[in-house]
Symmetry: C2
Subunit: 209 residues, 2 copies
């Protein structure tokens, strides 16, 4: 299979297929046809077949897809077949919620450390991790192989954290602070906008009423 | 201005412009030019001008945009100039984090109630709201004008909640449970995939290394 660059939209859909393949596997199913999978993923059967055929032959029409085979193939494409380490900076409500989000671990993303600059929080436990002082972040990144860092600080501290993470070449940065940071040559940044979906809902709200 | 349907992508960008216009206003600025605003929003100046010109004349080139004028216009388009009520079902980590997210209130989205089916949680406080029993949800929806409902329950309970919300015609549903629900004629549904962005980061991670 030759190396291809996949759009973020396709990655999103693949991650949704992966979700349902995992559920079907847990239910003890062995095969799924494109109609059933597309219905679960809320994607048209045509688009599903297009997505999957792009990466090679996963099944023959009329026979359905072998669930384990297809799941392994998607995991390989998304590279979740190897485990990834992530850290969280900011132990507030968002940081805590992400630290306790069980589905990351199931996808082979492992939370290794949580940092906060509030000394009252340092040493307290989230799950089985003690919150570390933010002052340790730099040394920690030098000594540990961290693939992804989540910024869950207030707006005011976020830029300093971002500059530190890019300086230390953390390759994936997921920013929940309400400010937008650009990707750099070595760090890919996703700026999360929690308010955005609220506004999308609000807009459609008025269209429907 | 004639009624136009705006794509979700455009709504997202407008919500980002709104964010920075608010920050600039807080800083006491009166005008902003498209170059500065596009830099903050990480959007090309060309796309910014295109987005804004689509809704009428907000400024003359070379003079910059009047911040309050532009902010009011975007608020009108996104219909955040009227206040919206929302509720959260599920008082777990995600529910609590969203309940405490201060930026919703700033955008005129007001949290009115939180529900949980765990009787140990019922009556406890999140912010200044007491957690209500899930059994009250139906009556609550009959008596109150709720625009948006957030599903923050485990996967197992999510479908029941979704069916109740669509039955009661809640117009906006934001689902954080790891399962996808379709929009209906009267309810617009956004399925949030927290894992999705982790997978996008992971994918780019490997591309960069």
């Amino acid at each position: 299979m030759e190396e291809k660059t996949i759009s973020n939209k396709t990655i999103e859909r693949l991650s949704i297929y992966l979700r349902y393949l995992t559920y079907l596997q847990i239910e003890g199913k062995e095969k799924v046809d494109s109609k059933e999978l597309s219905k679960l993923a809320l994607v048209s059967p045509c688009l599903l077949r297009k997505d999957l055929s792009y990466f090679g032959e996963f099944g023959r029409s009329g026979y359905g897809y072998n669930i384990i085979h297809l799941k392994n193939a998607i995991e390989k494409i998304l590279q979740t077949d190897s485990s990834k380490n992530f850290i969280i900076i900011g132990a507030g409500n968002i940081g805590k919620a992400l630290a306790n989000y069980v589905y990351f671990d199931k996808l082979n993303f492992h939370l290794k450390a949580i940092f906060d600059n509030n000394l009252k929080k340092v040493g307290k436990k989230i799950g089985n991790l003690n919150i570390r002082s933010y002052s340790e972040l730099e040394t920690y990144l030098d000594k540990n192989n961290i693939h992804i860092a989540i910024i869950a600080t207030p707006k005011e501290s976020a830029r300093e954290v971002y500059l530190k993470l890019t300086e230390k070449i953390v390759q994936g940065i997921w920013n929940f602070a309400p400010v937008d940071f650009p990707s750099t040559k070595h760090s890919y940044v996703i700026n999360e906008h929690l308010s955005k979906n609220m506004l999308v809902l609000s807009y459609h709200n008025n269209k429907m009423s």
